[in-house]
Symmetry: C2
Subunit: 97 residues, 2 copies
Amino acid sequence: MFKELNPLLHSELRLGIMSLLLSVEDADFVYIREQTGATAGNLSVQIDKLSKAGYIEIEKTYKGKMPCTLCKITPEGVKAFEQYVDALKSYIPFKDE
Amino acid sequence: MFKELNPLLHSELRLGIMSLLLSVEDADFVYIREQTGATAGNLSVQIDKLSKAGYIEIEKTYKGKMPCTLCKITPEGVKAFEQYVDALKSYIPFKDE
DNA sequence: ATAATAAGTTTATTTTATAAACCACTTTAC
DNA sequence: GTAAAGTGGTTTATAAAATAAACTTATTAT
């Protein structure tokens, strides 16, 4: 009847991160924080979870002298997101308006 | 950028309950438990939360001599569900296939 | 009468999300 | 230079949530 919702994606902030990363080549920590409105601590934790699940890749670089954490969605991440959306459809009658 | 996801609805079980109740006139506790696969304890708690939020109405009746808890979605519940779906769309590129 | 089952509820436990506190470094002001 | 403030995060502690286990009350079967 209802498909299981991947708990790693069924989280407002993590879903936002993934949604954002789906639409860009990559994004840095600060940009993601600004776009999602998350606190740095929360973002750090959630990014780490997504990374450990293999849904995103993290590259620590520098922008000038400042540290810069780049995030990029992986193919597994894209697949998991698509499956999550598919599962959601079992709960929700979606129509594009 | 991303709309807020009503935390009361952004829960796998509660979303399932609401989705189910949207499609029927009403449903009893046992039926909801069967359809969602939830344990009775979990279902009891989540139904209570939805009820306290005014999203569903609970009527305690009897089926023969057995207690029977009937649930029915309220207009506020329908509205909240629709808003939740709308918010979800800010995270997810939905297409009907 | 006793045992098993049904329909829930209450309570306790585990997990999760979130924020507060902190660290390393950089820039700005004196 | 050195102190103060700011940037980019991480770690740790707290609050909230989901979930299951244990319990209650009544019913049916033996």
